[in-house]
């Protein structure tokens, strides 16, 4: 990961406000993602000052903004009209502040963007808005942020991978680790299939 080049680009470019936030977001996410790799490879994760799991209750304004981001990307039980679980219900905050501690160290550089956009649209910080308002803010912020897809993946990961809790997998109907399905009927639609080759290999 060529962070030096990225940061050089950030420094050298004449950045307008939009570009500034875009580059800051790129830098913070990339630093964080690959900071994680370093942490994993050396077997240590900084925990100083990190609240204990399960599950973290946001206290500071930054923590509340991160919580609001999580709950917008995958709305949790209190936001989903159907009461289905979401990111905050599977420990995504804990994941961010523990396993991905590098992300939240950098997030204060990005969070003002969301809150500024929230103030601009609704006159309140992101974490004081309802789901529909937060969704609108995030949609309009997308165009100003680099690597937004990576941020989404990061916030969706704990729910769909089952890193801390399997609640998300259960909601999706994925049983996760298993003893195998050898006894299932694997002859599904067999009569419908025609084959071009005799052994599976094209000549």
């Amino acid at each position: 990961m060529d962070m030096t080049k990225l940061l050089d680009d950030v420094v050298k470019r004449e950045l307008n406000r939009r570009e500034f936030f875009k580059w800051i977001a790129q830098a913070s996410v990339v630093v964080s993602l690959f900071g994680l790799m370093d942490q994993i490879s050396c077997g240590t994760v900084p925990k100083t000052g990190v609240p204990a799991s399960p599950y973290m209750v946001p206290q500071t304004a930054d923590e509340k903004t991160v919580y609001a981001l999580c709950d917008t990307v995958l709305p949790g039980r209190t936001s989903d009209p159907g009461g289905a679980p979401g990111a905050v219900d599977v420990g995504t905050m804990d994941f961010a502040y523990d396993k991905f501690y590098g992300v939240v160290q950098e997030l204060p550089l990005v969070l003002p963007l969301f809150n500024a956009e929230a103030q601009n649209q609704f006159g309140k910080p992101l974490y004081e808005l309802d789901l529909a308002q937060r969704t609108a803010v995030l949609k309009s912020s997308e165009t100003m942020l680099g690597l937004i897809d990576q941020i989404y993946m990061f916030l969706k990961g704990p729910f769909y991978i089952g890193i801390i809790s399997t609640l998300g997998l259960e909601y999706m109907g994925d049983p996760g680790p298993n003893l195998g399905y050898r006894n299932q009927d694997f002859s599904f639609y067999k009569p419908m299939s025609n084959e071009m080759t005799s052994d599976g290999n094209l000549p």
Binding site: K5, D149, M153, G176, P177, Y189
Partner: protein
């Protein structure tokens, strides 16, 4: 004084373990340096957690952070973490002419030449065609979609013994059903006297009095060196290029093609959201590959398609409906409705011009430049078109991953040290011998000049058998 071997091999995947065995059987003293550690069935987990996977995979991104690259990092290399699909490349693959008018495969290499080596690999790894009772419901449904429009679908070939269909092939098979190199080539090589050093990362290759010196860091990060009359570079597409690029100050006659021609085997991943009213396919059940491969588009479009089963994570982190958000309440509800009953994930594969590049960044580490070029965009558009027609004919919805703005995961990396007939456009000759450096070979995925038309592992393995035989015969 550096230890001396007849052959030093960097990497223990298909490109490394296979020559190691064959050279040892020919009486040569062989050392294999492997960056990863030894993992057995007891060490694997049924988990897609990045923290676990980073033990057995090298994961990096492109320099625009838009693409993930995954490669095996354990004794046995990619064989430990591949899906297991092992079909032979169709004959036409070897005649591929790229967008620059260059026939990329050496004239001496074609399907007929490789067939005896495919036979050897399949025998060693117990590769066989799946039975229809091993094809998952996902595979059966994919076959039905094709049959509905009059197209064919074949059962693919796998190195599995007593597979339990648990769906975690690419996280390492905890049941020992997947016959990775840890079940065949590597133990036989050890029995034949090959020394495997794990946790060792090759840093540089230098000329030596009789062959080459390989400098490497060990598990304790100390720098050591060994000498080999022969050195075989087989560290994978990204890391073989890295090693040769870092060696350029001492191997000054290396081709400037090192690191160039990077390609992704022409993989375009897509999903099909099935129409309502069909029975559930329980898409997490079965081998990671759904057990089927269609050649129906090979003649007209130059592609094959492999259907796969899918854990929730692969689906939800990579795919969403075009024009709709990949997050938020709507996405969550949609994903829940689609998974696991009506989702098929599949890969298009086909020969493609390699326009990517592996280079050393300012930290002297490898970076991958993999831009969405005009050629690649054209390739994607032309290959996805028939799939759109297939989906439409089945009242299904095509879910396209690339180019969609979402990060895209690639594990079929090829071409950075490719063989070829034109010295100006290839790193190695048709025998895998690196130009200007007798005794220095490349035998892994980096030597494969273009997409293989199918999953590439079998062709990488067969080519490694072929190169090994050349070395045994000529060195």
């Amino acid at each position: 004084m550096a230890s001396t071997f007849d052959a030093v091999i960097v990497g223990s995947g298909f490109g490394g373990a296979i020559p190691a065995l064959r050279l040892a059987q020919a009486g040569k003293k062989v050392l294999v340096l492997e960056q990863g550690r030894v993992y057995t069935e007891q060490d694997f987990k049924q988990s897609w957690d990045l923290k676990y996977l980073s033990n057995i995979l090298n994961i990096t991104t492109s320099d625009d952070y838009a693409t993930f690259f995954r490669s095996g990092m354990a004794l046995g290399g990619g064989s430990v973490v591949f899906s297991g699909l092992m079909n032979r490349s169709p004959s036409e693959t070897f005649q591929f002419v790229d967008d620059n008018g260059y026939k990329v495969w050496p004239a001496a290499v074609n399907r007929q030449v490789l067939d005896p080596y495919y036979d050897m690999v399949e025998s060693m790894m117990q590769v066989r065609q799946a039975t229809w009772n091993e094809v998952s419901k996902t595979g059966g449904m994919f076959a039905k979609l094709l049959d509905n429009v009059g197209l064919t679908c074949d059962r693919a070939r796998f190195p599995y013994v007593n597979c339990r269909q648990c769906g975690y092939c690419e996280a390492g098979c905890i049941y020992g059903a997947k016959q990775s190199l840890m079940h065949n080539y590597i133990p036989q090589a050890q029995a034949a006297g090959v020394e495997f050093k794990t946790g060792c990362r090759a840093m540089q290759i230098l000329p030596a009095a009789a062959g080459y010196e390989v400098q490497y860091t060990g598990p304790d990060d100390t720098l050591s060196s060994v000498q080999g009359t022969i050195v075989i570079v087989a560290a994978g597409t990204i890391y073989s290029a890295e090693l040769l690029l870092r060696s350029k100050p001492s191997l000054t006659q290396l081709s400037d093609q090192v690191g160039q021609n990077f390609n992704n085997n022409g993989v375009v991943r897509f999903g099909i959201e099935l129409a309502d009213g069909l029975p559930s396919i329980e898409c997490y059940k079965g081998m990671d590959s759904a057990g089927v491969m269609t050649y129906a588009y090979w003649k007209d479009y130059g592609i094959t398609i492999e259907a796969g089963t899918s854990p929730a994570s692969i689906f939800t982190l990579n795919i969403h409906r075009a024009g709709e958000l990949g997050w938020g309440l709507g996405f969550k509800q949609w994903a829940h409705a689609v998974y696991p009953s009506k989702l098929i994930i599949a890969n298009i594969m086909g020969p493609v011009t390699g326009e990517g590049q592996v280079y050393l960044n300012s930290n002297n580490l490898p970076s991958v430049h993999f831009p969405l070029t005009q050629n690649l965009s054209t390739y994607i558009a032309s290959k996805i078109a028939p799939i759109q027609a297939l989906a439409t004919a089945n009242n299904a919805y095509l879910l396209q991953t690339m180019p969609s703005g979402y990060m895209y995961s690639i594990d079929h990396m090829l071409g950075t040290c490719r063989m070829g007939d034109d010295p100006a456009r290839s790193v190695a000759d048709g025998n895998g011998q690196i130009r200007n450096y007798p005794g220095l070979f490349v035998s892994d995925s980096s030597a494969i000049p273009c997409g293989t038309g199918v999953n590439p592992s079998t062709t990488i393995a067969a080519n490694a058998e072929r190169i090994a035989q050349y070395i045994v015969t000529n060195w």
